[in-house]
């Protein structure tokens, strides 16, 4: 699997209002996702059958409550989207899951499409709310007071790779990739050492190396084993250690480099010993140093900086692709990865168009210089928050984007299309196109199934255990000649 891989990303958003007294984040999140007409027109429920987030990749099951809401609640907190993704309420946050895509560029596209869906929903909700109750949505990962919410990447991989190999191959990569994937943060949280500004929003919150939790005692390597696919063949690696990125470039490199390293892990190509003495300490040490020069200790006694550890992975990647075919996109990712590491070593400031943490740091530095204020000024904390505001007219990232001050990977037109249509090359295509064509007959959906109400007593299920099937190439023709769901079933089974 050297070229393409099934990937997806989940983003939890912060939600607030100007007058927060008595503000109910759950109720308002439900209102939010039920406000936009196009989203709300789809009545499909989320099919929880077959989901088990309590299975551990190391081979045991953990006791706990599985999620099974009533049908009415199910519909209130779940929206299946025309692009094959899912909009839902998770705890006290609105959350978007991208559809399954096959490469890093499409991941950027569908991740950004999610922001647009949230923004349309926010505008629709605010038309129903009095001005002082208007909703504000932030794509960041912390409230600055010790509460964190996540951005989770999902990578489908071969089941046959032993979990220890994944841990061994990925830990140092995941601990250090924040030097280009971090979203930047003013201050420190969770009883870590004080700092004015740090690279990552999330690093302060990681307290364990390996584990099943995502809400407390967060682990660098998450062991949730829920493939949403043929479990004999696949594992879904659930990466919870990333920040939400506003920068398209940062998302592209974060996911692209990760997918490459994962292929190397699968093929037994991560052969250098990069085991860290203390990954939980190292992730914070690296985040707390914006010069990127701080060295962390490896088990074998040497000390390396984040850039140096990333270079070790990049070296292995160049070697891995010698004699292997690589897509133009893989080559582009390798080149950008190399270029970014060079710039980080020379002077991270040079990446003020590319990486969230540098873009935001430069913005804050310029503001402080011009307004003659320091980090203690609350406007600086406001800048830190409003950088992640998803409103395109008020969000500070978008203000910079409008001025042409940040690098882009995709276009606005492509993002708008990604709101409406699924990616062509995964099962998300079948999901999205069935919702478009047979909207009122789709009774339910999950990542690995579609349920149809054909008018018969029982709901009919189409299992989709293979994420690389259901593509445009495989199903467009049958969809074209099936005017109704009944015909679709006849054509699929006939």
């Amino acid at each position: 699997m050297a070229v393409e891989r099934v990937i997806g990303i989940e983003t939890e958003f912060g939600i607030t209002t100007r007058n927060p007294h008595g503000f109910d984040p759950v109720g308002n999140s439900i209102l939010l996702i039920n406000s936009h007409e196009a989203v709300q027109a789809i009545k499909a429920i989320w099919d929880y059958a077959g989901e088990n987030p309590l299975l551990d990749a190391r081979g045991f099951e953990v006791s706990g409550e599985r999620e099974r809401p009533s049908q009415k609640d199910n519909r209130a907190i779940n929206k299946v989207l025309l692009n094959g993704g899912r909009l839902y309420v998770d705890g006290a946050h609105p959350e978007y899951s991208s559809p399954e895509v096959m490469n890093a560029r499409d991941l950027v596209l569908y991740e950004k499409a999610g922001e647009r869906v949230l923004e349309m929903s926010r505008q629709a909700a605010n038309r129903l709310l009095p001005p002082d109750a208007h909703l504000y949505i932030y794509k960041n990962n912390t409230d600055g007071k010790g509460n964190s919410y996540g951005s989770h990447e999902n990578y489908l991989m071969a089941r046959g790779v032993p979990f220890e190999k994944i841990v061994e191959g990925l830990t140092a990569f995941l601990v250090t990739r924040q030097i280009f994937a971090g979203a930047g943060k003013v201050g420190a949280e969770n009883q870590t050492d004080p700092v004015e500004y740090q690279i990552s929003q999330r690093s302060d919150f990681f307290e364990a190396w390996i584990g099943l939790d995502t809400m407390a005692k967060r682990p660098i390597i998450n062991t949730r084993d829920e493939p949403h696919a043929d479990e004999e063949k696949y594992r879904r690696l659930h990466v919870i250690v990333g920040d939400s990125n506003m920068s398209e470039f940062a998302t592209y490199l974060k996911v692209g480099a990760m997918a490459i390293v994962l292929s190397m892990v699968e093929d037994g190509w991560v052969r250098k010993d990069l085991a860290l003495e203390d990954p939980v300490r190292a992730i914070k040490e690296i985040s707390h140093d914006v010069t990127c020069r701080r060295k962390v200790r490896l088990k074998r006694g040497v000390e390396l900086s984040g850039v140096e550890i990333q270079r070790e992975y990049l070296e292995m990647a160049w070697a891995y692709y010698q004699g292997r075919e690589a897509s133009p996109q893989v080559l582009d990712i390798l080149e950008k990865w190399a270029w970014v590491l060079d710039k980080l070593e020379e002077d991270p400031w040079q990446l003020h168009r590319h990486l969230d943490w540098v873009i935001k740091m430069e913005l804050i530095r310029s503001y402080m210089e011009r307004r003659k204020v320091g980090f203690e000024d609350q406007r600086i904390s406001m800048l830190d928050l409003q950088f992640h505001d998803i409103r395109r007219e008020k969000g500070l990232f978008y203000l910079l984007e409008r001025q042409g001050l940040v690098e882009r990977i995709v276009t606005d037109t492509e993002i708008e299309e990604a709101v409406e249509f699924p990616p062509p090359d995964t099962r998300a295509y079948f999901r999205g196109m069935c919702l478009r064509k047979y909207r009122d007959q789709v009774y339910g959906a999950s990542w690995s199934s579609l349920l149809f109400d054909t008018g018969d007593a029982a709901v009919k299920k189409i299992p989709m255990a293979e994420p690389t099937r259901g593509t445009r190439k495989l199903v467009q023709e049958v969809l074209d000649r099936s005017g109704s769901v009944r015909e679709l079933f006849d054509n699929l089974t006939g």
Binding site: T16, P25, G91, T142, K145, S366, R370
Partner: protein
């Protein structure tokens, strides 16, 4: 493998002689950016949430995931 795919060629290291030139270019870029940022900062003050202090203090989320 599709025909678009090509063999990986590793980019060569840039020659060391370019360093002075590169530094000059970075300085020039820095000046340019500074001027642009001056305009941006004015625009930021226009859109920055009023009563920042209160807004930031009130921004409290429940932990998620």
């Amino acid at each position: 493998m599709s025909e678009q795919e090509r063999k990986v060629k590793r980019p060569k290291e840039s020659p060391k002689g370019d360093e002075a030139q590169a530094t000059a270019a970075v300085t020039e870029k820095g000046k340019e950016l500074k001027e642009r940022m001056d305009e941006v900062i004015d625009e930021i003050d226009e859109v920055l949430e009023e009563n920042s202090e209160e807004f930031v203090r009130n921004y409290v989320q429940r932990g998620g995931e």
